[in-house]
Each structure stands twice: as structure tokens, then as C-alpha cells.
């Protein structure tokens, strides 16, 4: 039965819009500040962008199936691989991690929401607006075409007069704001909103990795923002930051981009490590092996991630001393990564391995990511990198790490957390069938690319020379696309099937270890009826099996009621949506040099800021210590 709403007179706000309290209907998705709904919005939106990126990848592989193919002309090809990279990195995989973080960080630490729910909504809307803006370029004169790292001076007005580059620069500039505010929100939440008793060394690993990731975002995005700002200034106001004819050193862009770009790799991969560190213990029915080492490795990677950027620039002639220094730091960062892999295998060792689809993806992650890590160490060797850099060997490497690594880990996360998010199970048979298409397909696509690269095939070329040994690897690679596509379609089918026909999941279908499995599926709006109190790592597991971990009984934790007056639920708000959407006219105004539109958008933004500040608390109270479960939940 539903918890009845007890409307307590909330402090009157002074905004134009009152804070809505609706909990159904499409408008509620625009004004929601609930971390779970925003998490779902992130995940859903990232899947949409991922579909677009998959179609782009499919076209790229069709073009490269045989030499001198004519599916795409050079211009279209450049737009396809640029948008594939931009989408996967900025609009699909990173937001997927942030979506999971939105949903599960508060649940894992026993909080009721993120620290700043409206800021969270604002971050989502900026991401959505930034993504839509970049994608609108396809209809407005052509997409960005200078590669996802948009090397200067290819982006200067004289070398690239079309609008595509502006869409890239402004879109990432705006999108970066959303990522930054979300990172700050996560940091505050994880530091200050953990349940009573949850010391830092009891925090679930996924949440820990998100904390490290959030700090990395804070330090990594400013250099990118500066570089983007310089190019926007160059292209809009005619400054000369990246104009070689005026004496500029275009290599500056590479430094600024990669001091963002390499941490970005870990911003994508650390949340994936977090997911794996949840999935493997759950399906091995054992605690994570070497929890402190995993955490410290993650922190170490977070620091070292900022000290390896020039390994993307070994061929730019920085000289033997610099190349040696960055080779060594890059080798060093391999050590904690290797230790993590060892610890995951150690977690499986001695456990009871349950082969769910989620676990299959986690195991495939271990194998694929190890191969990607090994080729990563190879690429950190500058003399070899001189051959492999900008060849298909690199393409193969980072698809093993990003696609076979991060993405497979997130797919493990999708299968793992879908029951919690929807209250329904995904079909294991379809899931496993999809897995056996998806992962072998992935290897069939990307393994031959190592060989193509060593045989002399540069990346980002829409055709290649016939007769020098490149035909077979490329044909295999294209064949793999079809196999993987079947796997992806089966995944999508399974998601829809699960939502429509899935069997009821119950609260804890996997016999989970962390607090999100202690509440209903899907969790109620207020997450937990009573404030959980934590007295050990794997807080939920020790409540279920109090004698299993330490050999003696762990005392039962006494969960506390939130408040004698009932749980206060904040009202929803129009302002995050309005202020997020204001960035759409802002972006177009900047792009088309229409400073009226630009000024209007800034006006909307500032008026929105005042509305946001003064709209008041709003909301309603739920009865104290509610034992009843909200509508739709099963226990």
C-alpha cells in the first residue's frame, strides 16, 4: 500500500513556480530531483547516444570492409569517426557511469538522496542539452570532423571553416559544466552523508571509485575547458591562440587536451572497476579480496592518471628524456591496475561462482581488460609506440580497454542492478545468448586490428592500400560488427522484455552484500524507511549472515527512524530544467554569433538562479519510521 502523503505546511517560497509534488506523468520527469529518476534518465539517455554511436561505428566498418570502398566519402567518414568517439567518450560511457553513481551511491551509503538534488537535476539537463546540441550539427551543416581530440590547428577557422568544430567546442564546453557540478555533488554526498557507522573503509567499492572519479573530474576538466575556451575565442573573436601563421604553438592543445584526456580514461574506467568490484564478490559469495589494496590502488591510479598524459604524445618529438619520464610513469600506473586484476581473481578463488549473465560479463571484462592492459604497457614503450601510435594497433588497444573493458563492466552492472531499478528480472537465457554474440563479436572486431596496425594501417583513413596485407584483418573486423550487433540487439530486447514481462525480482535477488539490496525493488522515493546503521563492511551481508564473516556474531544493527515528525521529502523544481535548457539558446547564440540570443539565455540563467535560490523548501512529510512499502514494491 502506498504511504499516505501528510502535507505539512512547508515554508512558503517566493518563486514564480511553486515546487511541484507530482510523482507521475511526464512532467514529473522534467522537474524531478530524485537521484533514482535522474539516474534512470542518465542511463536511458546514454543508451540513446550509444545507439547512435553504434550506427556510426557500423558505417565506419562497412566502409572499411574492402579497400577503396565508397559507402562513405572522406568528409562523411571523418564526421562518423569523430562523432563515434565524441559520443562514446562524452555522451555514452562516461554518463552511463554517472547514471549508475546517481542511482546507487546514495543507496550504497544509506543516504536518501545526493547532497544537492537540484544541482543533480541541473547536471543531467546540461548533459542532455550538450548532447542534443552536438548531434544537431548533423542537420546544421555537418558534424565535427577533426577527431574526438580535435587536434589544433585542424580546428582553426582557416583549416576548418564549417560549423562542425564549433558544435564540438561549445558542446563540450557546456557539457563539462554538468559533469563538474555532478562531481562536486558526489564528493559532498560521499564525504558527508554516509549512514551512521559507515567509516570510509566500510564504503562499498563502487562508491569509493566514484569518489576518486569525482575528484579526477574536478581536476581534469578545467584544462579542457581552458583549451576549448581558447579555440572558441579563436573562432568567434579572432584571437590567435592556435594560429600557427601568427606564431602559435599548436602543440599546446595536445598538452592541455591530454592532461584532461588521460584522466578522462580513468574517469571512465574507475567506475567500471567499481562495478566489477561489486559484481564479482556478489556472484562469488565472498568479500572482495584485498579491499584496502583495491581502494588504495584506485586512489593511486587517480593521482598517477595526471602524470602520464604525454604518453599520447611520444611521436611529437618531446625528446628522449621526456619520453623516458612518461614511459616510466605509464609503466608505474600499470602496477596498481595489475594488482586489481589479481585481487578480482583472488575474490573468485575459494568462492561459489554463480554464472549469471552479469558474472559472465564481469569475467569477460577481466580477460579483455587484461589484454588491453598488456597492449597498453606495450604502447607505453616509446620506440614501439613510434610504430603503433595513430595506427590500428592503438584503435584495437583502446577498444579493448574502453569497449571490452569499461563497457562490458557496465553491461555487467546493467544485468546486476536492473532488478533493483525496475523490480523485475531480466531474462537470463536471452542475456547469455546475447553475451555469446557480443563478446566474441567484440574480439573478432578488434583483435585483427592489432595486426592491421602493425602491418602499417593508420587510423582515421577512410580507405587503405590494397595488396599489402590489410584486406583480411579488415574484412574479419567488419564481419565481427555483425556478430556484435546481434548481441547488442539481444541486450536491447532483453531490457524491453524485462521491463514488460520480467519476473518479480524481490528485494535481494542475488543475495547481495551492500545496502542497496536492503531496501525494496525499486526503492521507495525516500530510499530507506528507516536510517540504516552500519557496523561492518558488506553491511547488508553481515545482517543476513551475521556469523559468516568474522567467525563470531556481528551484532544486529539497529536502524533508526529518520525523524519524529516523519521523513521530509523535498519538492520538485522547475529551475534545474529551465537553467539547463537555457544553455541551448546560449550555445546556438555563441555558435551563430547572435549575441541577442546569447544575452537572452544568460538573462534566463540569472533569473533562474534567483528563482532557484528563493523558491523555498516545499515538499511533504512521510510518516515517521514508516514500515509500509510504497506502491509497486515487493518484498
Amino acid at each position: 500500500m502506498a504511504v499516505s502523503k501528510v502535507t505539512v505546511a512547508a515554508p512558503a517560497g517566493s518563486g514564480v513556480f511553486t515546487r511541484p509534488n507530482w510523482d507521475a506523468g511526464w512532467l514529473s520527469w522534467l522537474t524531478t530531483v530524485d537521484h533514482k529518476r535522474l539516474g534512470l534518465l542518465y542511463i536511458f539517455t546514454s543508451f540513446l547516444f550509444m545507439s547512435a554511436a553504434s550506427i556510426e561505428a557500423f558505417l565506419i566498418r562497412l566502409q572499411l570492409a574492402v579497400p577503396n570502398n565508397t559507402v562513405l566519402n572522406p568528409d562523411a567518414y571523418n564526421q562518423m569517426f569523430t562523432m563515434h568517439g565524441v559520443t562514446m567518450v562524452f555522451l555514452a560511457i562516461m554518463p552511463l557511469g554517472i547514471g549508475f553513481a546517481n542511482y546507487f551511491v546514495p543507496l550504497q551509503i544509506g543516504a536518501r538522496d545526493l547532497a544537492f538534488p537540484r544541482l543533480n537535476a541541473f547536471g543531467y539537463w546540461i548533459y542532455a542539452v550538450g548532447g542534443l546540441f552536438v548531434y544537431s550539427s548533423f542537420f546544421l551543416g555537418g558534424a565535427p570532423d577533426a577527431g574526438w581530440f580535435a587536434y589544433s590547428p585542424l580546428t582553426s577557422l582557416s583549416n576548418n571553416p564549417g560549423n562542425g568544430t564549433d558544435f564540438y567546442m561549445i558542446g563540450l564546453f557546456v557539457g563539462g559544466i554538468g559533469t563538474l557540478v555532478t562531481a562536486m555533488n558526489l564528493i559532498v554526498t560521499i564525504i558527508s552523508m554516509r549512514a551512521p557507522g559507515m567509516t570510509m573503509m566500510r564504503v562499498p567499492v563502487f562508491t569509493w571509485m566514484m569518489l576518486v572519479t569525482a575528484f579526477m573530474i574536478i581536476f581534469a576538466f578545467p584544462p579542457l575547458t581552458i583549451a576549448l575556451f581558447q579555440v572558441i575565442m579563436d573562432r568567434t573573436f579572432g584571437t590567435l591562440f592556435y594560429v600557427p601563421q601568427a606564431g602559435a604553438m599548436p602543440i599546446l592543445w595536445q598538452h592541455l587536451f591530454w592532461i584532461f584526456g588521460h584522466p578522462e580514461v580513468y574517469i571512465i574506467v574507475l567506475p567500471a572497476f567499481g562495478v566489477i568490484s561489486e559484481v564479482i564478490p556478489t556472484f562469488s559469495r565472498k568479500p572482495l579480496f584485498g579491499y584496502p589494496v583495491i581502494i588504495l590502488s584506485g586512489i593511486f591510479i587517480g593521482f598517477m592518471g595526471f602524470a602520464v598524459w604525454s604518453h599520447h604524445m611520444f611521436t611529437t618529438g618531446l625528446g628522449p628524456v621526456v619520453n623516458t619520464a612518461f614511459a616510466l610513469t605509464s609503466f608505474v600506473i600499470g602496477i596498481p591496475t595489475g594488482i586489481k586484476i589479481f585481487n578480482w581473481v583472488g575474490t573468485i578463488w575459494g568462492g561459489k561462482v554463480v554464472f549469471t549473465t552479469s558474472m559472465l560479463y564481469a569475467i569477460s571484462f577481466l580477460i579483455t581488460f587484461t589484454i588491453g592492459g598488456i597492449t597498453g604497457i606495450m604502447l607505453a614503450v616509446p620506440p614501439f609506440d613510434a610504430q603503433a601510435q595513430d595506427s590500428y594497433f592503438v584503435v584495437a588497444h583502446f577498444h579493448y580497454v574502453m569497449g571490452g573493458g569499461a563497457l562490458m563492466a557496465f553491461f555487467a552492472g546493467v544485468y546486476y542492478w536492473f532488478p533493483k531499478m525496475s523490480g523485475k528480472m531480466m531474462d537470463e537465457r536471452i542475456g547469455k545468448l546475447g553475451f555469446w554474440f557480443l563478446v566474441p563479436g567484440l574480439h573478432l572486431i578488434f583483435f585483427p586490428q592489432h595486426i592491421a596496425g602493425l602491418m602499417g594501417m593508420p587510423r582515421r583513413t577512410q580507405t587503405y592500400v590494397a595488396g599489402i596485407g590489410l584486406e583480411l584483418p579488415n574484412l574479419l573486423s567488419t564481419a565481427g560488427t555483425f556478430v556484435m550487433m546481434i548481441g547488442l540487439i539481444l541486450l536491447a530486447v532483453n531490457l524491453v522484455h524485462g521491463l514488460l514481462r520480467g519476473k518479480p525480482a524481490g528485494n535481494d535477488p542475488w543475495d547481495g552484500r551492500t545496502l542497496e539490496w536492503a531496501t525494496t525493488s525499486p526503492p521507495p522515493h525516500h530510499d530507506f524507511d528507516r536510517q540504516p546503521v552500519v557496523n561492518d563492511r558488506d553491511a547488508h551481508w553481515v545482517q543476513k549472515y551475521p556469523e559468516s564473516v568474522h567467525g563470531h556474531r556481528v551484532p544486529e544493527s539497529a536502524s533508526e527512524p529518520y525523524d519524529a515528525n516523519g521523513i521530509h521529502m523535498p519538492g520538485q523544481s522547475w529551475y534545474p530544467f529551465i537553467m539547463g535548457i537555457a544553455f541551448l539558446p546560449f550555445s546556438y547564440g555563441l555558435l551563430y554569433h547572435n549575441f541577442w540570443v546569447l544575452g537572452l539565455s544568460i538573462l534566463i540563467f540569472f533569473v533562474g538562479t534567483f528563482g532557484w535560490a528563493f523558491e523555498g523548501v516545499g515538499g511533504h512529510h512521510l510518516p515517521a519510521g514508516g514500515h509500509a512499502h510504497p506502491k509497486g514494491a515487493r518484498s
Binding site: P320, N323, T324, V353, I377, A386, G456
Partner: protein, 371 residues
Amino acid sequence: MQARRWRLGGLLLAATLLLAGCEFAGPQSALDPQGPVAQAQKDIFLWTFWLSWPVMIGVFGTLIFAIVRFRAKNASDAKAIPTQTHGNTTLEITMTVVATVIVVLVAVPTVRTIFATEQRVDVTALEPGDVLVKATGYQWWFKFEYPELGITTANELIIPAGRRVVVELDSADVLHSFWVPNLAGKRDMIPNNRNQVWFVADQPGTYYGQCAELCLGAHAYMRFRVIAEDDAGFDAWVAAFQGAADQVVQADPLVQRGQQLVAQKGCIGCHTIDGYYANVPVGNPDFPNLTNFGLRTTVGAAVLDNTPENLAAWLRDPQAVKPTNRMPTLWVVDDPNADEEIDAIVAYLLSLGVPDAASAALAQGGLHGGQ
């Protein structure tokens, strides 16, 4: 267990054969080194490759063993609670040390190879026998200048085998990268950023090169060749260029007509041809230099072999051969004179650097056609 070991051995053997065999040889293959720099780069790759095998066998072997050995055998087993171990400090420290040792095993030869192959050569103090080249990347071709020899050419770098070639790298517009996999790994061409690469070709031969940094448009067709000659062949080539300004247009009327057309059609507005007029320079240094074009083996930045048919096709419709390149189409589709004029220009261009018309036909494909 025995069978397992055999299988692993078989895998290793297969990998060895694959790498050792001629499977991966090719004119643009990094696994087919033809000089000491590329050899050192391949050697360090193979060292990391072999080191990766024990790592992969260790990790994957343990993983596969663990998931088989510790699988839940049935539904009730999947509910059983194994011992809840949290870690093993000794084991973890051991693995950290093992990982560190592997990294050191990679790092030491890496640093050695870096300093053996990436040291900048002081071009003011070259050793005797060194050849200095200045290479400039343009959208979408390469200019090669030999400052000590006074030679400028495009897209084909002729070098003497067995001698060190030092290439100074520059770009006239966007980023490019100079990559001849058989001879040396790539080095980027960056505006306002002096860069350099050096290499030696052990044997005479033709090695493929390609731009490896996205430069939009015809990036995929921005190719070049490095042609290593023996000393006599190189000297002959140098002599042909140094005498190019004095060469006489061949008497063949078709060639003569071609020379006139090259002016009428505006070719010399861009393309330099030494010896086009005695002592009158033509062309613009920012476009491919066509001096001694008859000695070239390729057309359009190594996109086509330099045969009369290919050259005619290129002149007729450059965009069809190399999309987005900047060579204009000089004849409208139904131009009645196109074929005759193109034949004449082809005859003229192929005669450049070639002693007389009779041997021009023989030498099509250039001095190096036999290789």
C-alpha cells in the same frame, strides 16, 4: 594437466610461427624491419610480446581454473556460504613485487632503445655520408628538399642504402606525421615545432610511407615512397636533378605540344619544373615540384603507379582518383580536345629527366621500375 601443457605449448609455437613467418612481411609493415631503427622498435615489441605470455597464462590460467574449480555445482550449492576471506597480505605483497619486476623488465630495455633511436642528430655536425633531408607536410602531399644537394622533389624520397638519413620535419598547414614502417616509427610534423627523425635502409628497395596524423580531406591518400638506391644509383639520381635545369625538351612533336599545353593550361602557375624554360623559374614552392617527373614511380602522392594510363586518368579527373585533393579538373566532361591534350601532357611529363623519347617508353615507371 599434461594435455593442457601440450595445448599451451602448441599455442606458443603457433604464435612463434606466425610472428616469424613471412605472414607479416610487407612494404608497409612494422614487423618487416629493413633498417636498424625499425629493427630496434620491432625487437622491443617482441620482448614485451614474449613477456606478456607468462602474464596472460598466469592470469587467465588462474582465472579459468578458479571459475571451474569454484563454480556453484547446483542450486543449493549456489546458496552455500564459502569461507569469507578478506585477503592475504603475503600474497598481495608478492604479487605487487611480481608486477613491479615485470615492469622493470620492460623498462630497462625501453630506456636503452629510446636513447638508441630517438636522440636528436645535430644537423650542423653531420657525419660523413649522412644525407640531410627537409620534409614538409602539405595537405595532402610531402615536399622533400635536400639542402646540401640543392634538390627539391615531392612524394618520393630517394636515399642511398646503408647511409644514415636525417629528416627534418615541418608542416605548412595542419598536423601530419612521417611514417615509413619498414624503416622507422612515425614522427609528427607540427607547425612551429622543429622535429626530426633519422633512419638507415640496410638494402636497396622501395618502402611505403603514409601520413599518420589526421589532416582531413584526402588524408587516406597522403602517401609517399622511400626508395633506397645503391650509391651509384643515388649518385645518378642526384646528377639527373642537378642537371635538370639544362635539359632540352625532346624533339618528339607530341612532347613539344605537351610542353606548350603545360603553360596554356596553367600547370606552371603552381608546379615547378626545372628546365621548363632555361633559366626561367616557374611554379610555386608550395605545390608539388615536377622536376624530372619521368623518374617518378607514382602519381598523386603515391596513390597510383606512374604509367601513361594512370597519369592520364589523374589529369582527366583528379577528384575521382583522390577525393578532395586540390588539383583542379582542367577539362570539362565533354571537352572534345581533352584526350589529345592529355596525351601530349603525359608524353611531356614522362619525358622529364629521361634522356630521349625512345628510352622514355622503356623507363616509364622510372629508373626504379625494376624494383
